[in-house]
Each structure stands twice: as structure tokens, then as C-alpha cells.
């Protein structure tokens, strides 16, 4: 899986993009568990952030495929 980090999520991880190995689909919840394994401080963003795929927010029922590109979207503050 390719994971994109923006704003506060990027500050925590220190990277804007990384590959996280996966061999099977993950639930949104399992995906977050995996991210937090790699970057424990992301736990602070888990409840407030959303995930996006193909320019759309993911519902919490989604499954994430090993080939997906997933963006971590902290609370937005544009305008």
C-alpha cells in the first residue's frame, strides 16, 4: 500500500509518502492499527482524521487493497 501523509500527519511521520507492505485486504480499523505500529504518534490523529482513496473519503466499512494508494487526511482548515 502507498500511504500519503498531509499536514499534521506528515509532521508526525516525517514523510509525505511511504510504502507499507501488505499481502491481503485490510479493514479501515486494521489499516490504522498498521499505521500506528509504524508511527505510534499517529494514534493522536486516528479519531479526527479520515482516509481517502481515488479522491474520495473512505467509509469506515471500506476494505483497503494491497495495491491501493491511501491518503491520511487530518482535520482540514482551508479557506
Amino acid at each position: 500500500m502507498t500511504v500519503l501523509y498531509f499536514a499534521h500527519a506528515r509532521r508526525i511521520t516525517g514523510v509525505s509518502q511511504e510504502e507499507i507492505p501488505a499481502t491481503a485486504p485490510l479493514t479501515v480499523s486494521a489499516f490504522w492499527d498498521r499505521l500506528i505500529q509504524h508511527h505510534p504518534d499517529l494514534a493522536a490523529l486516528r479519531t479526527s482524521s479520515r482516509l481517502a482513496r481515488d479522491n474520495d473519503f473512505l467509509p469506515s466499512s471500506a476494505h483497503i487493497e494491497p495495491t491501493d494508494e491511501i491518503a491520511v487526511i487530518p482535520p482540514v482548515s482551508g479557506g
Binding site: 499536514a7 509532521r11 481517502a52 491518503a71 482540514v76 482548515s77 482551508g78
Partner: protein
């Protein structure tokens, strides 16, 4: 409805949208960087966007909202990168036959933008 959305680090110079004889109302909103944030003086804000998702989501929101508030055209510009105090972070221009749908679309779009468009104020410069 004609929709144009532009996210760019260039300063925003709000051009008047092309006039049409069926346009009776033009409503605009300009969001400017204020000189203080949380009561502390600042010199600029730094904005970041997830492009092209931000552009696509703005397009989608405008299309959705226009079903309830039919307008002729919407032009949105959002600046990213360093935006100095007094300069424009966002400019929206909406053309419609009458003012009511233009006002309603403008207000509803700004509310949704602040919930659902992946753009962030990432930093304040003092």
C-alpha cells in the same frame, strides 16, 4: 453550471467572470489572512493542499449544492504556500440569475469547504 476550480501558489487576482445577459447577480467571497492568530501577531499563514483531490472535492461539492441552489457559474481560487497578512487565501465568484441562490450556494460551499476539502493551514509565520 459552469465550474472552475484552481489551487495555486500564485497570488490571487480576482478577475471578473465573463458577463452573460442572463446573469443578474454576482456574489463573491474573499478570505484574507488576518494579522493575528489566537491573539498573537503573525506575518503570514502557510497553506497546503492535497491536489488534485481538493479540486475534485470542490467540484463535487459545488455540483451537489447547485441542485438546491441553481446558479450559472462558480469560480474558486485557493492559494497555497505562504500567504502574507492582508492577502487573499481564497476567492469565490458565483454568477446567477437572482441573488438568493448565489448567496445560498456561497455560504453552503464555504461551510462544506471547511469540513471536507483537503486544504490545511499548516503554519503561521511571525
Amino acid at each position: 453550471m459552469h465550474i472552475e476550480v484552481l489551487i495555486s501558489p500564485s497570488p490571487i487576482s480576482p478577475a471578473s467572470p465573463h458577463s452573460r445577459p442572463d446573469v443578474g447577480a454576482l456574489a463573491t467571497f474573499t478570505g484574507l489572512v488576518r494579522g493575528s492568530e489566537n491573539d498573537l501577531p503573525i506575518s503570514a499563514l502557510v497553506y497546503e493542499a492535497y491536489q488534485p483531490m481538493a479540486e475534485i472535492v470542490m467540484h463535487r461539492l459545488l455540483t451537489e449544492l447547485a441542485a438546491a441552489h441553481p446558479c450559472h457559474s462558480v469560480f474558486v481560487q485557493h492559494r497555497i504556500g505562504v500567504v502574507p497578512v492582508g492577502e487573499t487565501a481564497i476567492h469565490i465568484a458565483i454568477q446567477a440569475r437572482h441573488r438568493a441562490p448565489a448567496f445560498a450556494l456561497l455560504a453552503a460551499f464555504m461551510d462544506r469547504l471547511k469540513q471536507d476539502v483537503p486544504i490545511w493551514k499548516t503554519d503561521t509565520l511571525s
